[in-house]
Symmetry: C2
Subunit: 336 residues, 2 copies
Amino acid sequence: LNKKEVVEKILKDSLCVAKNKQGVYFAPANIALCKYWGKRDLELNLPQTSSLSVSLGHLGAKTTIEELTDSKETMDEIWINGKREKPNTPFSKNLKNFLDLFRLTKTCVYRVKTAINIPIGAGLASSAAGFAAVVGALNDLYAWQLAPAELSILGRLGSGSASRSFWSGFVEWQMGIREDGMDSKGHVLTEQWPALRVGMLILNTAPKPVSSRVAMERTVSTSPFYTAWPAKQAVDLRAMKEAIAAQDFNVLGSIAETNALGMHSLMLAAKPPILYSEPSTIESMHRIWQYRDQGLSLYFTQDAGPNLKLLFLEKEAETVKSLFPTLEIIAPFGEK
Amino acid sequence: LNKKEVVEKILKDSLCVAKNKQGVYFAPANIALCKYWGKRDLELNLPQTSSLSVSLGHLGAKTTIEELTDSKETMDEIWINGKREKPNTPFSKNLKNFLDLFRLTKTCVYRVKTAINIPIGAGLASSAAGFAAVVGALNDLYAWQLAPAELSILGRLGSGSASRSFWSGFVEWQMGIREDGMDSKGHVLTEQWPALRVGMLILNTAPKPVSSRVAMERTVSTSPFYTAWPAKQAVDLRAMKEAIAAQDFNVLGSIAETNALGMHSLMLAAKPPILYSEPSTIESMHRIWQYRDQGLSLYFTQDAGPNLKLLFLEKEAETVKSLFPTLEIIAPFGEK
């Protein structure tokens, strides 16, 4: 099965029953607490394991999309944060290929305007939010009226982790077992955790030297430890859902931390090795462990980049902020 | 089987046939190129895998040992680099326990003087050289006339990697399969590689926060990836011996590097995680990879500490020294 066939399966009758002048959608960024690392299907972005994230509230991407019917343009017009994106960048090509899945006619071109309030390409889940917002905006433009779980499947075709960006709160991306991936989609957890805080410790916003896609593929094909990852992930995921149900923060934090370190250790053992950490990343890790030894309930997670995301509870927010003054603190479930 | 029984097996008739006034021995430090990480027998220091090292020429430990027969001392007198070691330090206790294996009478106490020209307890193989030198000095003191392979077994009882410190050049510690470990000992490779250079990149000589012993045990019992380590190690070891036979430096270097990173990735995934790297370690790794991208044949290995050992050939020595001015460069097979 290819992407186009999946899109047709989902849209069937809904395609072009109605059309709005433009479509708009906001999708939050999401931070995986149990990571997605490794695909079982490269075309459909089907994962080797399930994963679990928390959405970042107001941080994410808001996309407006319209068809340029009267225009002489033959290429999509892509704007990011008010700046026209050149058509030959890897990002533009990626998005163009993705939009190809949805054009009603061959001559259809889009104007896509995205406002994104997190650094792009630095392991801060910008692409997840970006692809999710595009899918949501298309759903609005064409009045498909798809359910979030269906949008999730479409978003996954753009970027795997986009499948988790159609909800607030905790979202599990259930890996599914079908070849067509129709069961590989997001599922929101009912649990809320208003006291949970995520702190973005931005150490370097330069685009990462190795893309997540390349890093993931290299890990799966060359890391001698990858065979042991799915079993670890299953154990971590189950324990994390229990910790969320029990609101046991120290369990949640420690699983999130060892899960992230497990993912990075897979990469360190790949050939050639992939080391997203920079000196400041390592320094921050040692500091966090030192604070924890001193009694502070503070944990971290790390994605495909040098930045860390700190996990803590509202009652520690002031202390954590004093230790990491540049921290941007997010309340995923809103402020009380 | 316990340590004492192994010692008795080896010494059998040789014990105390003769006695010199004092025993002296120099043992080189050794750097594992294929690491030893994980024990199958904690008492006898029997390893989960074979390993392979290169000895560091003049860097190591020289020990002089004598019995204090006329003394009223009831405790061993331990000197390191001219300084009397307090009897209650972990090191003194370790050495006392080790010496207990060799005392002829219960009242026998030793004066042990060790001159060691590498930093101690910083992942620079000081304990391997130290225990090997003590064993060699006892062999001299009591005129046991044991072969290096027998000394290797005795050294292993003190510190696993000491089993590789009884030879110059490349040494394989063959893991063996026997329960008593009589087949778990060093074996020197015939190959010489005069152009090989090892550079000690000392970033921090403070004693490590987690001992190798603790780190190893925690890795074996909690790292989800440890199950995949023995197979990786077997592949790496075979390929490394081929690279040594073929004098293919880039293969040797890249295997040594991924083998070390594999060991550290096991630790990063342990619970709680063990991260010997410091910011300067990570910075140096990124620099080394950058130089290699630019064409320099330069690799690293890392042991249980933040320091790196660089691997390169004599022809690159000047370039490498200009990039890392503090580097101490060792010619394991002597200068030409």
